[in-house]
Symmetry: C2
Subunit: 242 residues, 2 copies
């Protein structure tokens, strides 16, 4: 399983992903699920993936190959596309094509086993920050003012905290806190979501990754936060009238 969450605030984008992949409970590995394509100052594209590792890795590799190809155009390379909508269309097409191919090769795979989805966040110079969720079929939805965050993977445990505290006016610092607490709740309830975590911040207008952090197991700052949150919840609970 996987949990990835991205928030689009007035001040910028915040992305957080776990790194655990599993094929059954006895086959657990660590794989990065957050990827950056960047020409600092001109464009920044961040992606987070969930679902079949075979599908998502192949999709990322093909996007990379298309960028490096001498024949790349604005219709094939996400580094040349004129808009973020163009970027998301290329990624969606590549994902859907990869999925179909892998599903055909492995005709005994259940449909869900070759499923995958991708969160895409980014900005081009002169354009707006945008945040998309691409479905396995290649179509997408976009985050709006009303719902300024998108999730993929095991999204339910970590949703209540986001609904309660996140609005577009939330600061980048508070948004990182909210994302980390959302991840903390998810990891407490689903063992197949696990450390280390990848956290990234993209400030509005910067068109580059402003901050990147890998949070390892036992990270003192994250552990302290997790404990403090549990304490705060328990205290609030005790003081709550029935």
């Amino acid at each position: 399983m996987t949990y990835c969450v991205a928030l689009k605030l007035n001040a910028g984008l915040v992305l957080l992903s776990d790194t655990r992949t599993n094929a059954g409970l006895d086959n657990i590995s660590t794989y990065r699920k957050m990827f950056f394509f960047e020409e600092p100052g001109e464009r920044v594209i961040a992606m987070m993936t969930a679902g079949s590792l075979s599908v998502t890795q192949t999709t990322i590799s093909r996007l990379q190959e298309a960028i490096e190809s001498p024949e790349s155009t604005e219709r094939t390379s996400i580094m040349k596309a004129q808009t973020m909508l163009g970027v998301v269309d290329i990624i969606g097409d590549t994902l859907a094509k990869t999925r179909r191919e892998i599903a055909m090769q492995c005709s005994d795979l259940k449909q869900s086993q070759s499923s995958a989805s991708i969160i895409v966040a980014g900005q081009r110079e002169g354009g707006d920050m945008r945040l998309f969720l691409i479905y396995p079929e290649g179509n997408h939805i976009e985050a709006t003012e009303d719902t300024p965050y998108l999730q993929i993977g095991e999204h339910k445990y970590g949703k209540p905290i986001l609904d309660r505290v996140v609005t577009p006016a939330t600061s980048l610092e508070d948004a990182q806190k909210a994302a980390l607490l959302s991840m903390d709740s998810t990891m407490k309830s689903n063992l197949s979501v696990g450390m280390p975590l990848d956290l990234a911040v993209i400030e509005e207008g910067a068109c580059r990754v402003s901050a990147k952090r890998r949070i390892l197991k036992g990270d003192p700052q994250f552990s302290a936060m997790s404990v403090a949150w549990s304490e705060a919840l328990r205290e609030a609970f005790v003081e709550m009238p029935l």
Copy 2:
């Protein structure tokens, strides 16, 4: 959808269920999902149901019919069974048989559409309080000291709060609070879980329903609690260090 949760504390049992059923988003009704079979002082059995309404209603009706039958025995009537394990076996068998019959009648139903599960809680005079979850196939699991609660239906949104505050030593009052906050989180995230709510308390050793309460939409006490919890979470969030 449905959300039902039951907690087994040293002091007794606490049960909470919603009442919303839906067949599609445009066909929503209110049905009770909490049922009692009681001979006060001798035995109390509480049940909560999730899944196909056709399956759960038929199951409850058949259990009732078996109780009223002049030929009822300790193998067919949950009011005559010698132990809570006997009770749960009768309910499991009735559920599994009902499901199979309905699935056969409607061969174009998907398997999941005739699925249903039941939480059973209760005590017989001289026996222990017990809390079970019966799966659609009729088998069951039981709540233990390690995990003193069981959930059916839309269980994910409301799980983090239970994990943080509930232990067997939790008081009946705090357990009601925890169940109601767990329900509140669930209703905020899943519209197909909805008011009114049914709340019941069975004190240890009483072998009767000690308290029963229907909480209607707009209930001032529940609304105040929901608002106070949101406030407390937001305050805790603001004061949390990153």
